[in-house]
Amino acid sequence: MGFFSRLFEGMKKTKKSFGEKLKYIFTGNDIDEDFYEELEFVLVSSDIGVETTEYIIDELRERAKKNKVKKTEDCKHLLKEILVDILSQNKPEKLGSPCVIMVLGVNGVGKTTTIGKLAKKFTDEGKKVVLAAADTFRAAASDQLEVWANRAKVKVVTNEHGVDPAAVVYDSIQAAKARNADVLLIDTAGRLHNKAVLMEELKKISRVVNKEYPEAEYHKMVIVDGATGQNAISQVELFNEAVELTDVSITKLDGTSKGGFLISLAKDFDLAIRYVGVGETADDLLDFDPKEFVDAIL
């Protein structure tokens, strides 16, 4: 299955609620204030946020005027265009080799699951993968990673519960070098982004990577749960302050969540949107594609 059909499958429900609402507003009627009000409702309902919604609507007003669009139904492609434009600002480049991907995010967004899926994906692509279980805090986190590692048949570097995560990362870099690995995936402990001590820990991991593995392309990828609301912005902001994020991925888009905050993120941050998680099996991870993403939700 291609990206579109998989995403479409995964996001059927998303599309249903979002698309159904849109159907009622993109009618043959003339554009009026009621139309914009309805559109605002739809956009805010998908977690796009008040500020970005206002930006989108202003932009739509302008483009409608410029293109002399009078009917609401003709607005639909303009709206799509605006959303695709925003989401296309930072296209992810192909991953280099060797590369390190440190995966971070708040608790419960699906970091370990995403790493498991990535391990499988990269192995299928013929890459050599090493995993670092640097979540030494959550009970049984490294067990969970090991299950995924066994499924993908890749090496996982672990240590005891409570050990300094930076030490695990150090060991994993040595293992990655020894094995000539293409990708080192680092699983970090979930942390609420407003905890200074835990953010320090991430900085420390980053220092270790920069010092011990300078030849590797270093990605710092934040994972955001697709059901998150406006707090997504705050999460990315504070992680970005701590370690200068390079990538963002979104998980759990197989529910009825819309992940609208992604549009705000694309608008306000210099981050490549890399992957979309749409289910629990190893294959349910897709490369992000702006146009198809917008097509799937509109």
Binding site: S46, Q144, N194, K195, K258
Partner: protein, 441 residues
Amino acid sequence: MGMFSGLGEKLNHIFSKLAHRGKLTELEIKQAMREVRVALLEADVNFVVAKDFINKVSEKAVGEDILKSLTPGQQVIKIVKDELVALMGSTNQKLEVAPSPPTVIMLCGLQGAGKTTMCGKLGFLLKKQGKKPMLVACDIYRPAAINQLKVVAGNANVDFYEKGTQSPVKTALEAIELAKRKGLDTVIIDTAGRLQINAELMQELEEIKKAVKPTEILLTVDAMTGQEAVNVAKEFDDKLNITGVILTKLDGDTRGGAALSIKAVTGKPIKFSGIGEKLGDLEPFHPDRMASRILGMGDVLTLIEKAQESVNEEQMKKLEENIRKNTFTFDDFLVQFEQLSKIGSLSDILAMLPGTMGKFKPEDIDESRVKVYKAIIQSMTPKERANPDLIKASQRKRIAKGSGTSIQEVNQLIKQFEQVKLMMKNQNNPRMKKLMGRRFF
């Protein structure tokens, strides 16, 4: 954080032009309510819920003598806040207890909401209240979920039951039988995370419910959830007729509008909120505090309560005695630090403060310093802690090495210790308590 002043200022600005007129016009209320609406939406209150709410409050606000007050903006916020509290259920609701034991509590929710952690916290709380709880692992899908619950149960020092990946219904029934035999009074069932639209897994929950007839079915919801919270809660409630809700991850900086949406849609009470990663980080849900939080008003009450709970009276007395006798040692110094860390991390405390204080970013406060100090003191021998004069150059070197710090940092701590000691000597006893409570606020 600090949004209260933002909202307050905006409202005051709207009302500032209308000095000394008796009542608000509809236009003024409309403008004010637009600001309130934006605040609610930014807090992730569901769009429809926010709209209904605003309509209701607008009706109330028309005709009220708001302008007699010098700060009409604050007055409007008060009305808004009171209505929010009313909507969220006015008072805290406790857990139901089954007439004949065991009481069965079933947790359910989306993936990653924090169910397994919450099972441990509930078990820990009930145990503290003198109950005998058992945790049951019925998440047979997520890798290592059973193991995680086992570890959590061990930490909480409560009974635990699992039967691998056999049918969760069977495991739950067996656990209840075992609980009866062992005389345990509460069974807490951890279920797998699932999407509310996954028919097969929702069916599984209905089957567990039918088999074990839980006293409480608690929907666990991540406080950071956006507009989606409404759909999730509605589906779970439709299928399972939940008895209540637990909000998790409230220790983040989310404003938690999901709470309001869920209450509005299901009518079910929010019973607890999870406020941290430690087992004890669970508190009863307080609608008034949540209302403040959604409006960005900070949560001073929680802070005060936490401080009171954490400061151990006996330790305080001993500390006072030591100071009176002028034998204040590094051990006492450490106690002071530890009591502070029990209250919560400094950033927690800041997040709970309203207004300008809440605007401080965590990095403005050097929280890691507290950790460093602790490490240094713990690297001293008991003798050195009791008699700091023993710490000479070579000891300082050893302590620095042992704690992974530099000699400068050790020196800095010793200097600070001497200062505190001096300060304490100059304080008379009644003021001491106040000082201890205030040192970091």
